[in-house]
């Protein structure tokens, strides 16, 4: 009965990362003390501080333990403040709201009415019903895009909502990564499983379409697909036996940890010789817990994996500050960190007489936001309401109980495909130039 929204979050993140070939955003920010301080008349801004607050699902009995997002934001703010702050002011995370049960919109209202914040970050919630309020009030908002409310449309661009790596969510978009990875794994038949909830089954539909489109070039086809699993199922014996009969040798899924673990146990039990691709499996604590269950499986990240050789500057800084602040390095804390980084960059670009609109405009002018190499690159001129032209992600493999970036090169963690081109090997890149 856990809420079912985040079940395939990572898969979607892969699809929404927007890349472009335009100029980069400035990589190094100016030190706070060098900046001019002018009076600013904006909510949540005083002479000495810029107040922000966030909301996360922390104690919702139906699931969600996203408090680490706050720690990522806090660590980034600490780094900026130690460097003199920004525009002569310190960044302060004044509110860490828990959206409890069915109260996301109310907590968002509280951030604005009671906490007097300039911007809202992070937002990491099972449901994001406060999105409309934030759009109406034009508040710069940064968070984890696992909810469809982040995405804009032509009629309603939602240009003040910023996901950690774009805001566009495409549940059934095609991407060449599945047929390509299956081909690389030496596979010819792909098995796909998903829950019968909308996000999950549409994700599976996207995989099916991808394999139908590029599969013939890769010599790969869909051998088995099941999109009608009960959420939280504990038995996949029939599905795995059918995969075995169908000759499936590459399995991927649009399910949560429960589904992934159940699948992996059954694959092992039935001795199905298949490579597993677990898009949302980049979590060391899971690999630590489940031993060799995920050995040799592939996982996907939209950011440079922590194990990247010759780490980009952004990754080095993140890891250093996680250690300094005693924060767990994880996708959650990284998302918070990325949210804070984008906000700070927006503030810098908006200039000393900043306000909400200027920050929003400044970010929406960025054509290649890469958080100093942590991301492949996000084109914020289109990342609210359009799928990217390219697909750019990093792939790691579980080897000896640890994640090992694969297909990458030192300093170049990402694989880049053109979305509308015939299937070919991806370009190995540090980011989009």
């Amino acid at each position: 009965m856990r809420l079912r929204v985040p079940a395939c979050a990572a898969v979607l993140l892969l699809l929404m990362v927007a890349c472009s070939n335009s100029e980069s955003a400035p990589r190094t920010a100016a030190r706070g003390e060098d900046e001019e301080k002018v009076a600013v008349d904006a909510p949540g801004v005083t002479d000495s501080e810029i107040r922000v607050g966030g909301v996360a699902s922390i104690t919702n009995p139906l699931g969600g333990e996203y408090a680490d997002m706050f720690r990522g934001v806090e660590a980034y703010f600490q780094m900026v403040n130690e460097d003199g702050g920004i525009h002569g002011r310190e960044l302060t995370l004044v509110a860490e709201r828990d959206d409890k049960v069915a109260s996301n919109n109310a907590q968002v209202q509280a951030l604005l009415a009671q906490d007097d914040v300039f911007a809202v970050l992070p937002v990491a919630t099972l449901l994001f019903t406060g999105a409309d309020t934030l759009v109406e009030r034009n508040v710069p908002t940064f968070g984890w895009t696992i909810n469809p409310e982040w995405q804009g449309t032509e009629e309603e661009p939602k240009e003040n909502l910023f996901g950690q790596a774009g805001s566009y969510l495409c549940f059934d978009c095609e991407a060449p990564i599945w047929p390509w990875l299956a081909q690389e794994a030496g596979a010819s038949k792909v098995g796909v499983i998903a829950y019968n909830v909308a996000q999950s089954s549409e994700c599976a539909e996207g995989i099916r379409k991808s394999i139908e489109r590029w599969g013939p070039e890769a010599g790969v086809e869909v051998g088995f697909i099941d999109t009608s699993l009960s959420f939280g199922t504990t038995d996949l014996s029939v599905q795995v036996s059918q995969m075995k009969e169908a000759g499936v040798d590459f399995i991927t899924s649009c399910v949560d940890l429960q589904g992934v673990v159940t699948l992996a146990k059954e694959v092992k039990k039935q001795n199905l010789d298949a490579t597993q691709f677990i898009p949302n499996g980049y979590d060391q604590s899971v690999v630590d817990e489940f031993g060799d269950l995920f050995e040799d499986s592939y996982v996907l990240t939209f950011f440079a994996p922590f194990e990247t050789e010759e780490k980009p500057e952004g990754l080095q800084t993140y890891l250093e500050w996680m250690e300094r602040t005693g924060t767990t390095k994880s996708e959650n804390s990284l998302n918070g960190w990325l949210n804070a980084a984008l906000f700070v960059q927006g503030l810098r670009d908006a200039g000393p007489d900043f306000n909400r609109q200027k920050v929003i405009d400044a970010i929406n002018k960025m054509t290649n936001w890469d958080a100093n190499g942590l991301l492949c690159g996000v084109d914020w001129t289109s990342a609210h309401d359009q799928p990217s032209e390219n697909v750019c992600s990093a792939i790691s493999k579980v080897t000896d109980g640890a994640f090992e970036p694969v297909f990458a090169e030192p300093g170049k963690p990402f694989l880049l495909w053109e979305r509308d081109a015939p299937l070919k090997d991806p370009e190995v890149v540090a980011g989009v130039d």
Binding site: Q107, T234, S237, Q239, S285
Partner: protein, 713 residues
Amino acid sequence: MIEILELAVRGVPTGCVFALLAVGLVLTYKTSGVFNLAFGAQAYVSAVVFYEVRKEHEWPLLPAALLAIVVIGPLLGLLLDRVLFRHLRTSGSVAKLVTSLGLLVAIPELVRLAFGSESKKNPPPLWYVERTDQWLWPEGSRFVLDAGQVTTILATLVVVAGLGVLFRSTALGLRMRAVVESPRMVELNGINAERVSMVSWMLSSFLAGLSGVLLAPLFASLSPFDFFTLLVAALAATAFGRLSSIPLTLLGGILLGVLQAILAGKLPTDSILANGLRPALPFVVLFALLLFWPGLRSARDAADPLAGVDPPPPPAAASIRTRFLTVGTRAFAVTVSAIGLLLGWFVLDSFWLGLVTSGVILGVIMLSITVITGMGGMISLCQATFAAIGAFTTARVVDSLGMSVIVAIFVGAVVAAAVGGLLALPVLRLEGVYLALATLAFALMFQSVMVPLDWVSGGTTPLRVPRPVIGPVDLAENRAFFVLAAALLALAGALVYVVKRGTTGRFLDALRGSEYAAASVGISATRAKVIAFSLSAGIAGLGGGLLACFYGAANYDQSFNFFYGLVWVVLVVTAGARSVQAAVISGLGFFLIPEFLQRLFEIPGRYVADHPDLPAAVEAVLRTIKPEYSLGVAFILFGFGALTYAKHPEGIIEVQTRAALRKVMGALDRTDRSQPTPATDDARPPDEDPAAPATDDDARRPAPVRTGGAGVP
């Protein structure tokens, strides 16, 4: 045929999982009369204890298992019996069901408080060996069981055999069943019913503990909801066993597992039929069994033949007050409502206004429970589903037909009412627990089959519902919407009040007293109950449409998850199922209590921050109180509130109102006696018994009657 057989064999281990849980439920029902929906929560307690000692403290397997299963399980049963169920033995099955719902809500939060809310990944198994194919079957054989499955199958068979012996061949088994049927009669025969009941609870709780520890490795991490999900899937097996037969329950569980496996293997995996039927199978089977299975079709809850010796419940508060106080109470209610409106309009900030508006709208939905449970004496666990139907219909009607939102909300209510009426027709022959289970099955079928459909829920993106504009008033403004919500709440409250005082209300009163007696004077039970079901569903639909409009979208997971429906029932019944004001207060309480608690729990932290020179011990104690406990504590309060239902089935608010009224009337009486002249606004002479009913219609209604099964006043 071979293929079907293979699939069937694959379904047996899962079937045994269902069977183990279902047997536990049946055991509890047979030996305590409680249909214990908190069985999964009890299982979760032992699973967490086993996890903690085995994984965190690295105890050896045997002592860890003994502690979790043999000590904690029965101890929990003992505690539940002593504190709770001992006092419920003569209560109706609905009172017991509501109490178990309260435990379902409270226990997981207590466990989180005790053991922390961190994710407990990879629960440890109750066995050493991982695989069996090397020692049970030749390597490479077609069917492989892991050790967990073997253990579950064996444990299920042992439990079934043991319980069979207990009930068929021992005096204790007979006494356990007798105590459920009539504790008074058993005691007349010199048997200590309390001790038998205690043993029953310890035994069933032991079984819950065994199930919890045994089944925990099925999950990637420990969550009480996973156990509850498995439990509701297993309900079909309990129905197959007619809530009484252990062997039939075992068979039912296995058949369910087998059927699931066959459907998984034979239905096209991405077909519409598979998408709908497979996830909903346990609930479809449960629903069908409740309607058609011999022995359940006309099942009635067991009634204690000596229940008539119970004193009648106290009269309703409204029936003891004088006309003066009736007028005063109503004036007070109007004043409080007016103050609330003024506060909402002028004082509350957008945060509190949002919460209060949500609470007011939820109050509308809660009124639907007042109708079905308070007036109709039936427990429905699908009120959140009716609210969802109202919300989805509102969204679709606005989107497709371009209809005014306000009109669409009422269309949503009508559609929900129609669905409620249709559902009522087949399920109304059921009563008590059986009816509650049928409505739960309906809620789960809706969630599994309808909600995933794009044309129903909008699929990945919840359906938008705009705010209405009424003349010059744009209800996009939250204060204006608050007034609309309050007006619709008043309308719904008035409707409930009118129906309660009208013919249908009186018919339902009579039916709650005695269906046969009511029928003998020409009252149609079916007609009255269908009206109650429809009205209740319609009010829930109205609230659902309004909630979707307030939030801007008809979002199932946000607002209408069936679990919320269970919590709502607990809240309303605790506050007072027959009272309009209790429904309103419950709605507000659902949203406001966690926030008030959070403010309360923030105080110690602030105090510590402001007083750096506090003694370390005091600081340590104060730091244990954290704001993030607020929701858990609120749920614990909600759950424990339901536990008072056995003592006060009329509800806390009714009890408090009655006590306050008695005090006021006593004071007035003393004042009147001290006056030289009997000048009073009251129509009655001052020396008349103050407790005598007023001439108000409320007072002419018969006092609530204990109904053997229903237990609703």
